[in-house]
Amino acid sequence: MSTALQDLATLDRVIHEPARLAIMTVLCAAEEADFLYLRRECGLTQGNLSSHLARLEEAGYVKIEKTFKGKYPLTICRLLRSGRTAFEGYLQKMRAVGASIR
């Protein structure tokens, strides 16, 4: 088995799950986003998004904060530096794997 394929086994499984990958992509692109925006962008249900965000927060990739914009309550999610680094590393590994498969 080539090194690239061996790398497949070391992929970050927290990010590798499609819903969490979508969340990470949106949070990487935007500086911050609230729960409703993420739900619409990723096409997830409320419960699904909650559980995936909790998993990402637990891994130390995402920070979740409850705040207000005017009178409107917001649950704002931000990608932490560790999350960004992990996401970049994940993408690099996937690229290497993709190249080796082709």
Binding site: H16, P18, A33
Partner: protein, 251 residues
């Protein structure tokens, strides 16, 4: 936790293209304008300033404290809104946009927290699709800056020419030239509405009604009023469309 082959295939397809990241970034950026509120507010500011210009134009020799006070009040309101445009928009959005489609901050709006962010995205670009797309992305960024400067320069030239050149056709000519120019540089940019390109010639032609025999300040006032109307029209269309598509989300 294990991944099915379908999951891995889906993930590979996602990662093999840069578009999801860039698309998400562009969507976050354009989200600020999705509800038309920024155009409505800018249009309202134009109308306010036009009102002050026309007020002065129609009362050139009046020294009444009431008129001076009213003109001063208009200017105070104008600058108060102008310098707190972002906060005013946030306030409006917190009542209209965020309850419907949520909140996100585009990267360019949060420079304070942005340290190291752009290199990160560049790295993503490199790692995902290679240098060609990165170069493309940098080119696009430069294009946006160039277009913005072009827009500002043409707008300044238009305002100066309508005030300085005493010719009945100048406003119409400047409006048509600006509309064509803006259409030429923004025809591939989805963020620029067709209403701007069509509206500016309209604003210029609309000023044919006000010949050069009128005071310059009056012509400038009418030009601002025309431009403000275009922006208000554009903002209203976007807002109505947005409200119809996005009823208030239920928790």
């Amino acid at each position: 936790m294990t991944n099915t082959p379908q999951q891995t295939e889906h993930t590979m397809a996602t990662v093999s293209s840069l578009s999801p990241v860039l698309q998400a970034e562009r969507r976050a950026w354009s989200y600020w304008f999705v509800d038309g509120l920024s155009n409505l507010l800018t249009g309202a500011l134009c109308q306010l300033l036009a009102g002050a210009f026309l007020w002065i134009a129609f009362h050139p020799h009046t020294r009444s404290p009431l008129i001076i006070g009213a003109a001063g009040l208009v200017l105070v309101v104008y600058f108060a809104v102008f310098f707190r445009l972002r906060q005013t928009l946030e306030w409006l959005k917190s009542r209209i946009t965020y309850p419907r489609t949520g909140y996100t901050a585009a990267p360019s709006f949060t420079e304070d927290n942005n340290a190291g962010r752009q290199p990160g995205l560049t790295m993503l670009a490199l790692s995902s699709v290679g240098e060609r797309e990165t170069v493309q992305r940098v080119k696009e960024d430069l294009d946006v800056k160039r277009r913005t400067w072009f827009f500002v320069a043409v707008l300044a030239a238009e305002i100066i020419s309508t005030v300085l050149i005493r010719n009945d056709w100048i406003c119409g000519f400047a409006g048509v030239a600006m509309g064509v120019g803006i259409w030429l540089v923004t025809r591939n940019d989805e963020r620029m509405s067709w209403v701007v390109a069509l509206g500016l010639p309209f604003a210029g032609i609309y000023m044919f009604i006000f010949p050069t025999s009128r005071p310059r300040v009056m012509r400038a006032g009418f030009f601002l009023a025309g431009t403000g109307l275009v922006l208000l029209f554009m903002g209203a269309i976007a807002l109505v469309r947005y409200l119809r598509r996005n009823p208030v989300a239920r928790a």
